[in-house]
Point group: C2
Chain length 217, copies 2
Amino acid sequence: MNQAPTDRTRIRRVASNAHYDAATLHAIIDDAYLCHVAFSDGKGAHCIPTACWRDGAHLYIHGSNGSRMVKTLLETASCVTITHLDGLVLARAAFNHSMNYRSAMIYGRFDAVEGAAARQAMERFMEKLAPGRQGEIRPGSDKEYAATTVLRIDLAEAACKVRAGGPKDDEEDLDWRVWTGVLPLARSALAPQRDPACTVAAPAYVREWASALALPE
Amino acid sequence: MNQAPTDRTRIRRVASNAHYDAATLHAIIDDAYLCHVAFSDGKGAHCIPTACWRDGAHLYIHGSNGSRMVKTLLETASCVTITHLDGLVLARAAFNHSMNYRSAMIYGRFDAVEGAAARQAMERFMEKLAPGRQGEIRPGSDKEYAATTVLRIDLAEAACKVRAGGPKDDEEDLDWRVWTGVLPLARSALAPQRDPACTVAAPAYVREWASALALPE
């Protein structure tokens, strides 16, 4: 499926980089720890970064019940965007310079996830951050869950845009004597920093951290 | 100065992590290649990722004259957000898990930058991407500049939020036998990928790429 689900998700600029399939969307979300959520209220437009994860065909976030973001998101439409920057593309012509990236935009309205579903969602979030850790930590109390809202947004109205590869210059510029190519960027994991008060041996998800997350292309 | 410039920039949640000084704001912008811009139009709220750079007390972006984003940004208020994710914070209690990050939010309205100022801004952008490259490439033509809008937003109404350091658990949870600490993340540069058609030796900004951008904490 490479057709936009709605008019506002149809990508006009460099439409050949558009993707509307679930596999591309899920991969971009699953590779992200955070998203940016846009919404408007009486004070204008806001763009708030927050942790995110996916379960099936929904993207999840959470926040304190009292937060401005949580209150407003339950009452209004929003747009959630995730962007991974993969490199700088150096072309011969100034205006053909570009960036390689993978981005996803999701339109819709968040719903609150309640009760057992909220607990399950938060445990899934922990599983994404540190697989197996949920069984090791002091779990959330009823009071903590009661003070927190878990929200989810349906992934039905979404669009992805992906640019990869080298520069694309026009025929007439190909003789310019300048270095061309890609300066790649990636998110990478650095060595874990143990809390000074911690005397427990590192579990697998900590031992494997610095190797698991390096993302060479 | 650690006082919010306006009511909508005053950070309520974990206010001790708030920063309103120019040095913090400038450092967060200067370390970013892209931002997310939120605005609203008749189709709802939008959150669009785009390249950004700074000159003095303004953040700059650019886009095609015909793009939805450019047209709308010149007519309406927006919110620009930059977020750097620095690590996952693993605590003893589920609800004390956190992330280390540096984020900046800027509120205001974009203005178009015209004529010589637009050229100067775009050259400054190139200088950020690849210092010294502007003199090597085929510069933008009058036609290319005419098809592009350079926009800037004043940094006067902005707020930053920064979390760093290890987990903070409550006294009653300190005896939990679980690994605690930080799993750090950083943006890193990978080896440059030369365009197959390129026969020019790598300049300094390419040779130094993979070492210059590694950001260990």
